[in-house]
Symmetry: D2
Subunit: 98 residues, 4 copies
Protein backbone atom coordinates (compact mmCIF):
# COMPACT_ATOMS: atom_id res chain seq x y z
CA UNK A 1 0.00 0.00 0.00
CA UNK A 2 1.17 3.50 -0.77
CA UNK A 3 2.28 5.28 2.34
CA UNK A 4 1.42 8.94 2.00
CA UNK A 5 1.77 10.08 5.58
CA UNK A 6 5.19 11.72 5.18
CA UNK A 7 5.78 12.90 1.64
CA UNK A 8 9.44 13.18 0.65
CA UNK A 9 9.42 16.96 0.67
CA UNK A 10 8.48 17.27 4.35
CA UNK A 11 12.12 17.86 5.37
CA UNK A 12 12.26 20.87 3.16
CA UNK A 13 8.67 21.91 3.55
CA UNK A 14 9.59 25.29 5.01
CA UNK A 15 12.04 26.02 2.18
CA UNK A 16 9.55 24.97 -0.52
CA UNK A 17 6.77 27.06 1.07
CA UNK A 18 9.07 30.08 1.22
CA UNK A 19 9.84 29.73 -2.49
CA UNK A 20 6.15 29.36 -3.36
CA UNK A 21 5.27 32.53 -1.40
CA UNK A 22 7.94 34.38 -3.33
CA UNK A 23 6.53 33.06 -6.64
CA UNK A 24 3.03 34.14 -5.57
CA UNK A 25 4.49 37.62 -5.02
CA UNK A 26 6.14 37.51 -8.46
CA UNK A 27 2.78 36.70 -10.10
CA UNK A 28 1.11 39.51 -8.15
CA UNK A 29 3.93 41.77 -9.40
CA UNK A 30 3.11 40.69 -12.99
CA UNK A 31 -0.51 41.81 -12.51
CA UNK A 32 0.69 45.16 -11.22
CA UNK A 33 3.02 45.56 -14.22
CA UNK A 34 0.17 44.88 -16.64
CA UNK A 35 -2.16 47.26 -14.73
CA UNK A 36 0.51 49.97 -14.94
CA UNK A 37 0.95 49.40 -18.69
CA UNK A 38 4.59 48.37 -18.23
CA UNK A 39 6.42 47.82 -21.50
CA UNK A 40 5.60 44.31 -22.84
CA UNK A 41 9.21 43.15 -23.07
CA UNK A 42 9.80 44.00 -19.40
CA UNK A 43 6.69 42.03 -18.43
CA UNK A 44 7.93 39.09 -20.53
CA UNK A 45 11.31 39.14 -18.77
CA UNK A 46 9.50 38.82 -15.44
CA UNK A 47 7.26 36.02 -16.77
CA UNK A 48 10.40 34.08 -17.78
CA UNK A 49 11.92 34.61 -14.31
CA UNK A 50 8.71 33.38 -12.67
CA UNK A 51 8.59 30.29 -14.92
CA UNK A 52 12.19 29.49 -14.02
CA UNK A 53 11.40 29.85 -10.30
CA UNK A 54 8.46 27.43 -10.68
CA UNK A 55 10.66 24.97 -12.55
CA UNK A 56 13.21 25.13 -9.74
CA UNK A 57 10.49 24.24 -7.21
CA UNK A 58 9.41 21.34 -9.43
CA UNK A 59 12.98 20.03 -9.64
CA UNK A 60 13.36 20.32 -5.85
CA UNK A 61 10.10 18.41 -5.24
CA UNK A 62 11.09 15.75 -7.76
CA UNK A 63 14.49 15.39 -6.14
CA UNK A 64 12.96 14.83 -2.72
CA UNK A 65 10.45 12.44 -4.22
CA UNK A 66 13.11 10.34 -5.95
CA UNK A 67 15.34 10.15 -2.89
CA UNK A 68 12.49 9.27 -0.51
CA UNK A 69 9.41 7.68 -2.06
CA UNK A 70 11.08 6.09 -5.08
CA UNK A 71 14.10 4.78 -3.18
CA UNK A 72 11.87 3.31 -0.46
CA UNK A 73 9.65 1.69 -3.06
CA UNK A 74 12.72 0.32 -4.86
CA UNK A 75 13.93 -1.27 -1.62
CA UNK A 76 10.47 -2.67 -0.88
CA UNK A 77 10.32 -3.98 -4.46
CA UNK A 78 7.33 -5.56 -6.16
CA UNK A 79 4.50 -3.76 -7.94
CA UNK A 80 4.81 -0.71 -5.71
CA UNK A 81 8.32 -0.07 -7.06
CA UNK A 82 7.06 -0.26 -10.65
CA UNK A 83 4.12 2.03 -9.92
CA UNK A 84 6.35 4.62 -8.25
CA UNK A 85 8.84 4.55 -11.11
CA UNK A 86 6.08 4.93 -13.70
CA UNK A 87 4.62 7.86 -11.74
CA UNK A 88 8.02 9.55 -11.46
CA UNK A 89 8.72 9.05 -15.19
CA UNK A 90 5.36 10.54 -16.13
CA UNK A 91 5.97 13.54 -13.86
CA UNK A 92 9.41 14.07 -15.42
CA UNK A 93 7.91 13.88 -18.93
CA UNK A 94 5.29 16.51 -18.00
CA UNK A 95 8.02 18.80 -16.66
CA UNK A 96 10.25 18.38 -19.72
CA UNK A 97 7.30 19.16 -22.00
CA UNK A 98 5.90 22.07 -19.98
CA UNK B 1 12.06 57.50 -29.24
CA UNK B 2 10.28 54.48 -27.90
CA UNK B 3 6.62 55.19 -27.35
CA UNK B 4 5.55 53.34 -24.25
CA UNK B 5 2.23 55.01 -23.58
CA UNK B 6 0.01 52.27 -24.99
CA UNK B 7 1.67 48.88 -24.80
CA UNK B 8 0.39 46.33 -27.31
CA UNK B 9 -1.44 44.29 -24.71
CA UNK B 10 -3.74 47.11 -23.62
CA UNK B 11 -6.60 45.78 -25.77
CA UNK B 12 -6.50 42.52 -23.91
CA UNK B 13 -5.45 43.93 -20.58
CA UNK B 14 -8.57 42.66 -18.83
CA UNK B 15 -8.11 39.14 -20.25
CA UNK B 16 -4.40 39.02 -19.31
CA UNK B 17 -5.13 40.28 -15.78
CA UNK B 18 -7.84 37.64 -15.34
CA UNK B 19 -5.37 34.92 -16.33
CA UNK B 20 -2.72 36.28 -13.97
CA UNK B 21 -5.19 36.33 -11.05
CA UNK B 22 -6.01 32.69 -11.80
CA UNK B 23 -2.30 31.80 -11.87
CA UNK B 24 -1.81 33.61 -8.53
CA UNK B 25 -4.59 31.40 -7.16
CA UNK B 26 -2.89 28.30 -8.60
CA UNK B 27 0.38 29.20 -6.84
CA UNK B 28 -1.51 29.80 -3.57
CA UNK B 29 -3.10 26.37 -4.12
CA UNK B 30 0.39 24.86 -4.45
CA UNK B 31 1.36 26.29 -1.04
CA UNK B 32 -1.78 24.77 0.48
CA UNK B 33 -0.98 21.40 -1.09
CA UNK B 34 2.54 21.44 0.37
CA UNK B 35 1.22 22.58 3.77
CA UNK B 36 -1.28 19.69 3.73
CA UNK B 37 1.48 17.19 2.82
CA UNK B 38 -0.19 16.36 -0.49
CA UNK B 39 1.49 13.53 -2.37
CA UNK B 40 4.53 14.93 -4.27
CA UNK B 41 3.43 13.68 -7.67
CA UNK B 42 0.08 15.45 -7.32
CA UNK B 43 1.88 18.68 -6.39
CA UNK B 44 4.17 18.25 -9.42
CA UNK B 45 1.16 17.83 -11.73
CA UNK B 46 -0.16 21.17 -10.49
CA UNK B 47 3.23 22.84 -10.87
CA UNK B 48 3.30 21.71 -14.52
CA UNK B 49 -0.22 23.09 -15.07
CA UNK B 50 0.81 26.43 -13.53
CA UNK B 51 3.95 26.62 -15.67
CA UNK B 52 1.86 25.96 -18.79
CA UNK B 53 -0.58 28.72 -17.78
CA UNK B 54 2.31 31.17 -17.34
CA UNK B 55 3.71 30.17 -20.74
CA UNK B 56 0.31 30.83 -22.32
CA UNK B 57 0.29 34.35 -20.82
CA UNK B 58 3.82 34.92 -22.18
CA UNK B 59 2.79 33.79 -25.67
CA UNK B 60 -0.27 36.07 -25.54
CA UNK B 61 1.83 39.08 -24.47
CA UNK B 62 4.42 38.32 -27.16
CA UNK B 63 1.68 38.04 -29.78
CA UNK B 64 0.29 41.43 -28.89
CA UNK B 65 3.76 42.88 -28.80
CA UNK B 66 4.65 41.58 -32.27
CA UNK B 67 1.40 42.74 -33.85
CA UNK B 68 1.55 46.21 -32.28
CA UNK B 69 4.98 47.48 -31.23
CA UNK B 70 7.07 45.46 -33.67
CA UNK B 71 4.80 46.06 -36.67
CA UNK B 72 4.66 49.80 -35.93
CA UNK B 73 8.42 49.94 -35.58
CA UNK B 74 8.82 47.99 -38.83
CA UNK B 75 6.61 50.51 -40.65
CA UNK B 76 8.50 53.43 -39.08
CA UNK B 77 11.78 51.72 -40.06
CA UNK B 78 15.25 52.85 -39.07
CA UNK B 79 17.11 51.98 -35.90
CA UNK B 80 13.92 51.71 -33.88
CA UNK B 81 12.80 48.76 -36.05
CA UNK B 82 16.12 46.97 -35.46
CA UNK B 83 16.00 47.62 -31.71
CA UNK B 84 12.44 46.30 -31.44
CA UNK B 85 13.28 43.18 -33.44
CA UNK B 86 16.36 42.48 -31.31
CA UNK B 87 14.30 42.94 -28.14
CA UNK B 88 11.59 40.60 -29.41
CA UNK B 89 14.15 37.97 -30.46
CA UNK B 90 15.81 38.09 -27.06
CA UNK B 91 12.46 37.74 -25.30
CA UNK B 92 11.59 34.73 -27.50
CA UNK B 93 14.97 33.13 -26.72
CA UNK B 94 14.38 33.59 -22.98
CA UNK B 95 10.95 31.97 -23.29
CA UNK B 96 12.22 29.02 -25.34
CA UNK B 97 14.98 28.41 -22.79
CA UNK B 98 12.84 28.87 -19.68
CA UNK C 1 0.59 36.29 -52.48
CA UNK C 2 3.33 34.81 -50.37
CA UNK C 3 6.70 35.40 -51.91
CA UNK C 4 8.86 32.40 -51.18
CA UNK C 5 11.69 32.98 -53.62
CA UNK C 6 14.19 34.35 -51.10
CA UNK C 7 13.49 33.12 -47.59
CA UNK C 8 14.83 35.33 -44.84
CA UNK C 9 17.56 32.96 -43.86
CA UNK C 10 19.28 32.99 -47.25
CA UNK C 11 21.91 35.48 -46.03
CA UNK C 12 23.00 33.08 -43.36
CA UNK C 13 22.29 29.91 -45.28
CA UNK C 14 25.90 28.77 -45.11
CA UNK C 15 26.07 29.35 -41.35
CA UNK C 16 22.77 27.52 -40.73
CA UNK C 17 23.85 24.58 -42.92
CA UNK C 18 27.13 24.34 -41.06
CA UNK C 19 25.30 24.15 -37.74
CA UNK C 20 22.90 21.52 -39.07
CA UNK C 21 25.81 19.36 -40.30
CA UNK C 22 27.34 19.58 -36.82
CA UNK C 23 24.02 18.56 -35.24
CA UNK C 24 23.77 15.64 -37.66
CA UNK C 25 27.22 14.58 -36.43
CA UNK C 26 26.09 14.95 -32.81
CA UNK C 27 23.12 12.64 -33.45
CA UNK C 28 25.40 10.12 -35.17
CA UNK C 29 27.64 10.37 -32.09
CA UNK C 30 24.64 9.54 -29.91
CA UNK C 31 24.05 6.35 -31.90
CA UNK C 32 27.69 5.38 -31.43
CA UNK C 33 27.47 6.05 -27.69
CA UNK C 34 24.41 3.78 -27.39
CA UNK C 35 26.06 1.09 -29.54
CA UNK C 36 29.13 1.21 -27.30
CA UNK C 37 26.94 0.91 -24.16
CA UNK C 38 28.09 4.31 -22.90
CA UNK C 39 26.82 5.14 -19.43
CA UNK C 40 23.22 6.47 -19.69
CA UNK C 41 23.91 9.74 -17.91
CA UNK C 42 26.71 10.59 -20.34
CA UNK C 43 24.39 9.85 -23.27
CA UNK C 44 21.72 12.09 -21.68
CA UNK C 45 24.22 14.95 -21.33
CA UNK C 46 24.91 14.72 -25.06
CA UNK C 47 21.18 14.56 -25.88
CA UNK C 48 20.68 17.81 -23.92
CA UNK C 49 23.57 19.45 -25.79
CA UNK C 50 22.08 18.36 -29.13
CA UNK C 51 18.62 19.67 -28.17
CA UNK C 52 20.15 23.02 -27.22
CA UNK C 53 22.00 23.19 -30.56
CA UNK C 54 18.73 22.52 -32.43
CA UNK C 55 16.97 25.19 -30.38
CA UNK C 56 19.71 27.67 -31.28
CA UNK C 57 19.17 26.93 -34.99
CA UNK C 58 15.43 27.44 -34.52
CA UNK C 59 15.99 30.81 -32.81
CA UNK C 60 18.35 31.86 -35.61
CA UNK C 61 15.83 30.90 -38.31
CA UNK C 62 13.03 32.67 -36.44
CA UNK C 63 15.16 35.78 -36.09
CA UNK C 64 15.85 35.92 -39.79
CA UNK C 65 12.20 35.26 -40.51
CA UNK C 66 11.00 38.09 -38.27
CA UNK C 67 13.48 40.62 -39.63
CA UNK C 68 12.78 39.74 -43.26
CA UNK C 69 9.43 38.14 -44.05
CA UNK C 70 7.47 39.57 -41.12
CA UNK C 71 8.89 43.08 -41.43
CA UNK C 72 8.24 43.12 -45.20
CA UNK C 73 4.69 41.89 -44.67
CA UNK C 74 4.16 44.51 -41.95
CA UNK C 75 5.27 47.26 -44.35
CA UNK C 76 3.07 45.85 -47.14
CA UNK C 77 0.19 45.66 -44.63
CA UNK C 78 -3.20 44.08 -45.25
CA UNK C 79 -4.13 40.43 -44.84
CA UNK C 80 -0.63 39.26 -45.67
CA UNK C 81 0.72 41.04 -42.57
CA UNK C 82 -1.86 39.32 -40.37
CA UNK C 83 -1.18 35.91 -41.91
CA UNK C 84 2.59 36.29 -41.43
CA UNK C 85 2.17 37.38 -37.81
CA UNK C 86 -0.16 34.48 -37.05
CA UNK C 87 2.31 32.05 -38.66
CA UNK C 88 5.21 33.48 -36.66
CA UNK C 89 3.23 33.35 -33.40
CA UNK C 90 2.28 29.73 -34.01
CA UNK C 91 5.90 28.82 -34.75
CA UNK C 92 7.04 30.55 -31.55
CA UNK C 93 4.38 28.69 -29.54
CA UNK C 94 5.57 25.36 -30.98
CA UNK C 95 9.16 26.20 -30.05
CA UNK C 96 8.27 27.28 -26.51
CA UNK C 97 6.29 24.07 -25.99
CA UNK C 98 8.82 21.70 -27.59
CA UNK D 1 32.57 1.11 -7.83
CA UNK D 2 30.13 2.07 -10.55
CA UNK D 3 29.21 -0.92 -12.68
CA UNK D 4 28.96 0.25 -16.26
CA UNK D 5 29.03 -3.08 -18.05
CA UNK D 6 25.29 -3.29 -18.76
CA UNK D 7 23.70 0.16 -18.95
CA UNK D 8 19.99 0.23 -18.26
CA UNK D 9 19.04 0.90 -21.83
CA UNK D 10 20.58 -2.29 -23.22
CA UNK D 11 17.18 -4.03 -23.31
CA UNK D 12 15.86 -1.37 -25.62
CA UNK D 13 19.10 -0.66 -27.40
CA UNK D 14 17.69 -1.64 -30.77
CA UNK D 15 14.62 0.58 -30.29
CA UNK D 16 16.71 3.56 -29.14
CA UNK D 17 19.14 3.14 -32.06
CA UNK D 18 16.23 3.00 -34.51
CA UNK D 19 14.87 6.27 -33.13
CA UNK D 20 18.29 7.94 -33.29
CA UNK D 21 18.73 6.88 -36.95
CA UNK D 22 15.34 8.43 -37.72
CA UNK D 23 16.36 11.66 -35.95
CA UNK D 24 19.62 11.70 -37.91
CA UNK D 25 17.48 11.49 -41.06
CA UNK D 26 15.28 14.33 -39.81
CA UNK D 27 18.33 16.56 -39.29
CA UNK D 28 19.60 15.66 -42.78
CA UNK D 29 16.14 16.58 -44.05
CA UNK D 30 16.47 19.97 -42.34
CA UNK D 31 19.73 20.62 -44.24
CA UNK D 32 17.98 19.73 -47.49
CA UNK D 33 15.10 22.08 -46.69
CA UNK D 34 17.51 24.96 -46.03
CA UNK D 35 19.50 24.16 -49.20
CA UNK D 36 16.26 24.21 -51.22
CA UNK D 37 15.24 27.58 -49.68
CA UNK D 38 12.15 26.05 -48.08
CA UNK D 39 9.89 28.60 -46.41
CA UNK D 40 11.29 29.40 -42.92
CA UNK D 41 8.10 28.52 -41.06
CA UNK D 42 8.05 25.05 -42.63
CA UNK D 43 11.67 24.52 -41.61
CA UNK D 44 10.81 25.66 -38.06
CA UNK D 45 7.94 23.16 -37.88
CA UNK D 46 10.39 20.38 -38.72
CA UNK D 47 12.95 21.66 -36.19
CA UNK D 48 10.25 21.48 -33.47
CA UNK D 49 9.36 17.92 -34.53
CA UNK D 50 13.03 16.90 -34.37
CA UNK D 51 13.47 18.50 -30.93
CA UNK D 52 10.42 16.61 -29.67
CA UNK D 53 11.82 13.34 -31.06
CA UNK D 54 15.13 13.95 -29.26
CA UNK D 55 13.28 14.74 -26.03
CA UNK D 56 11.37 11.46 -26.36
CA UNK D 57 14.68 9.57 -26.66
CA UNK D 58 15.99 11.38 -23.58
CA UNK D 59 12.88 10.46 -21.57
CA UNK D 60 13.19 6.84 -22.69
CA UNK D 61 16.87 6.68 -21.68
CA UNK D 62 16.10 8.33 -18.35
CA UNK D 63 13.29 5.88 -17.72
CA UNK D 64 15.55 2.92 -18.32
CA UNK D 65 18.23 4.51 -16.18
CA UNK D 66 15.89 5.08 -13.24
CA UNK D 67 14.42 1.59 -13.35
CA UNK D 68 17.82 -0.12 -13.65
CA UNK D 69 20.83 1.80 -12.37
CA UNK D 70 19.04 3.97 -9.82
CA UNK D 71 16.88 1.16 -8.43
CA UNK D 72 19.90 -1.15 -8.13
CA UNK D 73 21.90 1.57 -6.41
CA UNK D 74 18.97 2.26 -4.06
CA UNK D 75 18.84 -1.42 -3.10
CA UNK D 76 22.63 -1.54 -2.61
CA UNK D 77 22.40 1.67 -0.54
CA UNK D 78 25.29 3.71 0.77
CA UNK D 79 27.16 6.45 -1.07
CA UNK D 80 26.56 4.83 -4.43
CA UNK D 81 22.80 5.35 -4.02
CA UNK D 82 23.33 9.05 -3.24
CA UNK D 83 25.69 9.53 -6.17
CA UNK D 84 23.27 7.87 -8.59
CA UNK D 85 20.36 9.96 -7.34
CA UNK D 86 22.36 13.18 -7.64
CA UNK D 87 23.42 12.22 -11.17
CA UNK D 88 19.83 11.44 -12.17
CA UNK D 89 18.55 14.71 -10.67
CA UNK D 90 21.17 16.71 -12.51
CA UNK D 91 20.32 14.98 -15.79
CA UNK D 92 16.60 15.71 -15.24
CA UNK D 93 17.38 19.38 -14.51
CA UNK D 94 19.40 19.63 -17.74
CA UNK D 95 16.50 18.12 -19.71
CA UNK D 96 13.90 20.41 -18.13
CA UNK D 97 16.05 23.45 -18.90
CA UNK D 98 17.04 22.43 -22.43
Amino acid sequence: MTERVTPGYSDDKVAVLKRLRRIEGQVRGLSRMVEDDTYCIDVLTQVSATTKALEAVALKLLDEHLSHCVVNAAIAGGDEADIKLKEASDAIARLVRS
